[in-house]
Symmetry: C2
Subunit: 196 residues, 2 copies
C-alpha cells in the first residue's frame, strides 16, 4: 500500500527472487548483459564516479583460472553456471571525472588526488553498484548467484592490474534443479531502524 512499484516487480526483484546455486544450460548472452548494464547504469554514485567494472568470464580457460581462486563451496556451481561476472572497483575512476562530472571537473584532483581516498571511495561506490547489478540481473528475469568466498588477492593478480580490485563474483542464469537453499530469516524492522 505504501509502495508505488507494482507487486509483480516487487516479486521479481526482491520478494520471490533468490540466490541460485545451480543453473540450467540456457546461455546468457552479451545482449542480456548489455540490457542489464543499460538499466542499472542510471543508479547514483557519488560525483557520478561509476567505479564498477565488469569482467565476463566466457572462455573455459578463464573460467578454470577463476574457479581455482574460489572457496570449495563455490567451485562446482561456478564451473556449471552459464555466465560468471567478476565485479571489480576501478581505483583510477577519477580519470573519467572531467567527462563524467562536468559540473565540477576539478573534483578529479581536489577530492580524489590521493590514492587512499580514491580506493575508499571506489570500494564504497562500486559496492553500491554491485547491489544495483544484482537487482539488474533479476530485472532481466535471471537469477544471480553472488559470492564473496574467494581469494581476493589471487583474483586480483590473475585477472586485474594494480589499479583494480575484486569485490564480488556473480553467477548468472536460469535457476536449475534444487537451485535454492531455504531462505534465511530477516532482521525485524525494529532491530534495524531507530529514530532520533
Amino acid at each position: 500500500m505504501h509502495l508505488a512499484l507494482d507487486p509483480a516487480a516487487q516479486d521479481l526483484l526482491f520478494r520471490q527472487a533468490r540466490t541460485a546455486n545451480s543453473f540450467t544450460g540456457e546461455p546468457v548472452s552479451d545482449e542480456q548483459v548489455q540490457a542489464i548494464y543499460d538499466l542499472v547504469k542510471y543508479a547514483p554514485t557519488a560525483f557520478n564516479q561509476q567505479p564498477l567494472r565488469v569482467i565476463l568470464v566466457r572462455s573455459p580457460e578463464a573460467r578454470e583460472r577463476l574457479v581455482n581462486h574460489l572457496g570449495d563451496g563455490n567451485k562446482e556451481k561456478t564451473r556449471t553456471a552459464p555466465l560468471t561476472a567478476i565485479l571489480v572497483a576501478d581505483n583510477e575512476f577519477h580519470e573519467e571525472l572531467p567527462t563524467q562530472f562536468p559540473a565540477f571537473p576539478e573534483a578529479k584532483d581536489m577530492f580524489f588526488g590521493e590514492r587512499p581516498v580514491r580506493e575508499a571511495s571506489a570500494a564504497f561506490n562500486a559496492a553500491l553498484q554491485v547491489g544495483y547489478f544484482i537487482v539488474g540481473v533479476r530485472a532481466a528475469g535471471l537469477a544471480a548467484g553472488p559470492m564473496t568466498g574467494f581469494d581476493a588477492e589471487g583474483i586480483n593478480k590473475e585477472f586485474l592490474d594494480g589499479d583494480h580490485h575484486v569485490l564480488a563474483v556473480v553467477n548468472m542464469g536460469r535457476p536449475g534443479e534444487d537451485a535454492f537453499y531455504p531462505r534465511g530469516p530477516r532482521l525485524a524492522y525494529d532491530e534495524v531502524v531507530t529514530t532520533v
Copy 2:
C-alpha cells in the same frame, strides 16, 4: 526486449528516477520507511549478515546535530528534507548470525571472529544494502538524495557507538522545485564490461 521488468518499473527505479536536491513539505511516514525496509530486506548479503542499520533523523535537534557534520553543499537540502536517514554498518553483525544464518551458526566465530575481518565485511555488505535501500526509496514513489559529503568521524561520534560506522546519509521525500541537476553522462558498456 531483454528485460523481464516492465517499462514503468524500469522508469520508476532507474531510468526516470533522479537524485533530488530539494523536496516538497509532504512528510515521509514511518509506515513508508517500514514498507521500504520490508521490500529491500530480501536482497542478498553474504552469510545473510544484513549489517545495515538505519537511523531516522526526525527531531529538529537531531537534524541540526547532523547538519553540523555535513559538507556545506549538503546542509540546506538536509535542513528542509521531509526525512533524513543515516545509513550505518554494524561491525558486530556476527552476533546475529546464529539466528540469521542457521545453516552454519559456526560462521559467527569461524569466519568473523576477528574485528578487522568483520569491519571489512560489514562495510561491503552494508554498502550493497545502501544500494538496495536507494532502489527501495524509489520503489515507494519517493526521491532519494544520497550523500557522502560529510565528516564521517563527526557523525560516528555524534550518533553511534564504537561498533558502528556511517556509510551514507540519504534525504527522502517528494521532489520539490528545481530538485534535479542535469543528469550526468554514463560510461558506455564497452568502457565498463570486458570479456575473458
